[in-house]
């Protein structure tokens, strides 16, 4: 019996192993890890880690929820299945991406936390699903995403189009199932990075993820962004125009880090960098579960020399192609951990950095804590006109006046092609302003809108209320014209991996998202220590009216003799004090009879008289 049990166990484990092997060997799940590095014209080093997991199974189908997960993180899969999520895009960011200095990133993200979710059309209550999803994501990534309730989210009409494959049924494009929310004050720290790394097949034990040591990144990075993007992809299409017959899913986990080598080197003109000093360790062997593991370094216009030299160079893009150094990590790290160094033969000269074709900035205007305005500036330096969608999500405690909206291109007022405006309601929903604008070639457009800062209930202020309240970044969505395309790296819709893009599959519909700065607004604050005093004082004022009116409507004006007089409490006290005074004075007189002259006596008497007079007057008044 014992033998048969052991045999059974061995048999089971062997079949399991075989099954896993089959899964890995087969094309059901595919994991790719990639690192893209680029030295920006300002001398900063931009590193974009991207971990892509693709699976041909439609995990959103509830009957599949017991399916066997190999590479795809089960915790994400369960959340997606539970809330019927079609597409999800989440970012947690510390710092601001400097578009004018660094160009466009692969993955744009606003400061703070952002969630964009599109639900399947089978979801009955989108707002409820949204609240459930954000709470689940908050638990998954240890962040305060649960604060993104329905009071903080909007339904964008022109921004955030579908990222993945679209079609009928569960691949819909209906905007009513789209939600967008932003938490500008959310911080990104170790407690978010650690659970995020645990979603990877190799966790943080092997592969490029080993480079993501929180200590180094937190210490040196000027910009740090975590991303989690999920979208449906198509594995096989039906007949012509039949749509996708077997949708799969693609999860992209990305980290963008910008590090200033000058700070690491502690020398102003030394912009040399290497992987080890930036991330604490050289390139470690690839994750064994990864299909490919590649490092791309953009060496277009670079002045540095890479050591060791890359496996090969790759030219990508039409017109002015970009030159990429490619390191295949599986081959590169055959002999263990290896560092990649970039050495500049000459010290760096800081010149004027050529700004990317479309720039978007925003600031707050006005002084004081009463009212102000938001001014957004869009600079289009393309040689052709472009169409942009501008999305502004303003919290309800800033009251926006739509009639003050002014759009001017180089000083000339322009009318937006489309305007979406949903006014906010206190404690219910934020203000949603979306504009579709046509921008002329080589023009600067300013959008200005006035707002009022409301005073909140004293329990509604965030901690450190005098620091101010944040307004999340605005989003500008546009398609770059041909001459501007070279500036942006836009991933292909069908496969988000960098290799797919760099090996010749240029995105057919390069949509670019640009985020503006977060705004800090100082709203008026009450005195938080005063609730009791204020309640007492305000009630006193009400009583001030109530008392006399009550008296005069319930009593009659009559003449009374002083001994029958009804005294108020205050009157009684005053009378008591006054009645004590003459006896005290009399005692004093007795003790020092010689020193008091007749004149003094007279004075004292007269003062007593005046006292009693005031007494009677007081009582009269009362």
């Amino acid at each position: 019996k014992m033998m048969s049990l052991i045999l059974c166990a061995v048999y089971l484990s062997v079949t399991c192993l075989l099954h896993v092997q089959a899964q890995n060997g087969g094309d059901h799940e595919k994991f790719t890890e990639e690192l893209f590095m680029k030295e920006t014209p300002s001398g900063h080093v931009y590193s974009h880690f991207q971990f892509t997991t693709r699976w041909d199974s439609d995990i959103r189908r509830r009957d599949n929820s017991r399916e066997h997960y190999n590479l795809f993180p089960r915790s994400v899969g369960d959340i997606v299945a539970a809330y019927g999520v079609q597409e999800l895009s989440l970012s947690l960011t510390q710092g601001l991406w400097r578009y004018e200095k660094w160009g466009y990133p692969i993955n744009s993200a606003p400061p703070g936390a952002q969630v964009i979710a599109r639900f399947q059309s089978s979801v009955p209550d989108v707002d409820k699903a949204w609240e459930g999803l954000t709470s689940a994501l908050a638990g998954l990534l240890c962040s305060s995403l649960n604060n993104l309730g329905r009071t903080e989210s909007i339904q964008p009409e022109y921004s955030f189009a579908n990222q993945g494959v679209t079609g009928p049924d569960s691949l819909g494009t209906n905007r009513t199932y789209l939600r967008y929310g932003i938490l500008p004050r959310e911080n990104l720290c170790t407690e978010n990075l650690t659970p995020w790394k645990k979603l990877l097949p190799c966790k943080n034990k092997r592969g490029l993820a080993v480079l993501l040591s929180s200590g180094h990144i937190q210490k040196y990075s000027v910009y740090f962004s975590l991303g989690l993007d999920l979208k449906p992809v198509c594995y096989s299409t039906g007949e012509e125009g039949g749509g996708c017959t077997s949708p799969g899913v693609e999860l992209v986990q990305s980290v963008s880090v910008v590090i200033d080598p000058v700070i690491i080197n502690k020398q102003a003109d030394n912009t040399d960098w290497n992987v080890k000093r930036m991330f604490g360790i050289g390139v470690t062997p690839a994750c064994p579960l990864a299909h490919t593991s590649t490092i791309f370094i953009d060496t277009t216009d670079s002045t540095y020399v890479l050591d060791p030299p890359p496996n090969e160079y790759l030219y990508y893009g039409a017109g002015m192609p970009r030159k990429l150094a490619v390191y295949d990590v599986k081959i590169f790290t055959e002999h263990g951990i290896t560092d990649i160094t970039a050495k500049h033969p000459k010290s760096h000269i800081y010149g004027i950095v050529r700004a990317p074709p479309v720039l978007f900035n925003r600031h707050v205007v006005g002084t004081g804590q009463e009212r102000g305005g938001i001014v957004a500036t869009i600079k289009n330096s393309c040689t052709t006109g472009i169409t942009v969608a501008y999305l502004e999500l303003i919290p309800w405690y800033l009251r926006v006046y739509l009639h003050t909206l002014k759009i001017e291109t180089d000083g000339v007022p322009v009318k937006p092609i489309n305007t979406v405006y949903r006014p906010g309601r206190d404690r219910e929903r934020p203000y949603h302003l979306e504009l579709v604008l046509k921008l002329a070639a080589r023009s600067t457009t300013t959008i200005r809108i006035d707002m009022e800062y409301s005073i909140l209930r004293w329990t509604e202020y965030p901690p450190d209320a005098n620091h101010g309240l944040y307004v999340g970044a605005a989003v500008l969505t546009t398609r770059l014209p041909v001459d501007g395309k070279a500036n942006a790296t836009v991933l292909a819709a069908e496969d988000s991996s960098l290799s797919h893009l760099f090996w010749g599959n240029v995105a057919t519909d390069p949509v670019l998202k640009i985020y503006s700065e977060t705004l800090l607004i100082t709203v008026p604050t009450p005195d938080f220590s005063m609730p009791y005093n204020v309640i007492c004082l305000a009630c006193t004022i009400a009583a001030l009216a109530f008392g006399p009116i009550h008296n005069m409507t319930t009593k009659k004006l009559v003449l009374v003799s002083p001994d029958q007089e009804e005294k108020s409490l205050l009157g009684k006290i005053i009378a008591c004090v006054l009645s004590c005074l003459p006896t005290l004075a009399a005692r004093k007189k007795k003790q020092e009879p010689e020193q008091t002259s007749d004149e003094d006596k007279g004075n004292e008497e007269s003062s007593e008289e005046s006292n009693t007079q005031t007494q009677s007057e007081d009582t009269n008044n009362s």
Binding site: G368, D426, I455, W458, P531, V534, I549, H550
Partner: protein, 431 residues
């Protein structure tokens, strides 16, 4: 001639003050319920096809909204002219009411002349009142800085004051039709003036009672008229807002529940900012009832002088409404000349007047210190609000107490106060 000059002067003051556009944004003058900027925003949204009641900015009534949308050319583009003309018309109505009011008071006095103590003859109105009163009222109205600022800031209080003035005129003319209509419109606009129905009903019932009509039928008729007007106005609004009642929440709901805590000269904003969440509804109820509660006892006590009731109710509204503004107070102050006979019995004239002037000047100063210079905090501004409100309350209670005292002296004469009992002077007391 002098009168015309006065009106020209009033218009000139209003016109020159309107150059200061910041007046439209002052929290003391423009509140969420009457601000010109919000009215414009509502009209703008309405023209775009969005419902202004969907947001939290607009709190005017649907009729006002439609009026401003349809007649935008006149009411918005020539708003200053409209507001000045409206304010001058209001003044005309109030001074006309002064004329009829004086006539009314003289008539009443004739009736009670027999009961007046011989010593108190000097307390009686002189027959010249009928000539003097309209002039005094015009001076008080046209040169009232509160009303000048209010008109220059283009608040919709100007409209409300116009209807209040019409109601006052109707009361002095014993006109039920106009009176109930004006009070209904004013109440429809800002809700609180509904309590003015008390003085009107009492007055009409008294007058008609003297003519031999039953008091009950008179009261019922006034009530029916008011209800009719109100339901007409609400029905019309319902139609204008496309068959929806959402405007009720945005207008009266907003006034009653005080959701917006933008500072103003009242006591509500800071009180409900600092309120403990579980007591909010209790204190809301208490504060709103506080105003309503005064109506019945005051009506019973002062039913003989409906003008005084009308004036004191306007005063109480201007202190205890949820979003009070200078325009409301200005109207109350301009009605005070109706009671010159009570002036000798005021006890705290100088101190309250001083308090009112001081707080009006100090409020913007402390606002500046709090909001712009960051060297003061909300308590400073609220302290001014409290003093300002107490000054107004003192004026109102003084006014009412003066009436009580005047009645006493008219009945008993002066010398009774000097009479001695057991060698002690007698004391006048409410008992």
């Amino acid at each position: 001639m002098g009168n015309v000059l006065l009106y020209v002067l009033g218009a000139a003051f209003r016109y020159s003050a309107s150059g200061y556009e910041f007046l439209q944004l002052r929290p003391e003058i423009s509140t969420p319920t009457n601000s010109w900027k919000r009215l414009i925003e509502g009209v703008h949204l309405n023209k775009m096809g969005l419902s202004p009641y969907d947001g939290v900015l607009f709190h005017e009534t649907p009729i006002m909204l439609q009026l401003y949308t349809v007649m935008e050319n006149i009411l918005v583009h020539r708003s200053l002219l409209v507001f000045i003309v409206l304010d001058l018309l209001t003044c005309l109505l109030v001074s006309e009411a002064g004329y009829y009011g004086a006539a009314l008071m003289l008539q009443q006095q004739k009736r009670i002349k027999g009961d007046v103590h011989p010593e108190s003859g000097s307390l009686l109105h002189s027959s010249n009142l009928i000539n003097v009163l309209p002039k005094h009222i015009a001076i008080f109205y046209l040169l009232n800085p509160f009303l000048i600022l209010n008109c220059a800031a283009r608040t919709t209080v100007v409209w409300n004051n116009f209807f209040l003035a019409a109601a006052l005129l109707a009361l002095t003319q014993n006109n039920r039709f106009l009176g109930t209509l004006a009070i209904s419109i004013a109440a429809y606009e800002t809700m609180y003036p509904i309590i003015l129905i008390f003085p009107l009903t009492i007055h009409l019932a008294t007058i008609e009672g003297q003519q031999g009509r039953s008091v009950t039928s008179s009261v019922v008729e006034t009530m029916v008229y008011t209800l009719l007007w109100l339901s007409c106005l609400l029905g019309l609004s319902h139609q204008l807002s496309g068959g929806s009642w959402t405007f009720l929440q945005a207008t009266y709901g907003f006034i009653v529940t005080v959701p917006e805590l933008t500072p103003n000269m009242g006591i509500y904003w800071y009180f409900f900012t600092e309120m403990f969440e579980h007591f909010r509804s209790f204190f809301l109820g208490t504060f709103q009832l506080n105003l309503l509660m005064y109506c019945i006892p005051l009506s019973i006590r002062f039913w003989r002088s409906p003008l005084l009731l009308f004036g004191s109710f306007i005063g109480l509204i201007s202190v205890f409404k949820s979003y009070p503004s200078l325009g409301d107070v200005g109207f109350f102050l301009s009605v005070l000349p109706f009671f010159p006979h009570l002036l000798p019995f005021f006890k705290q004239t100088i101190s309250t007047a001083g308090l009112l002037v001081a707080t009006t000047i100090l409020a913007p100063v402390l606002w500046q210190l709090w909001i712009y210079n960051n060297s003061a905090n909300a308590n400073y501004y609220f302290a001014i609000n409290l003093l300002y409100s107490s000054a107004l309350i003192f004026i109102i209670t003084d006014l009412l107490l003066a009436q009580v005292r005047r009645q006493f002296y008219l009945q008993h004469g002066y010398s009774v106060i000097d009479s001695m009992v057991n060698g002690n002077k007698m004391i006048l007391q409410l008992k």
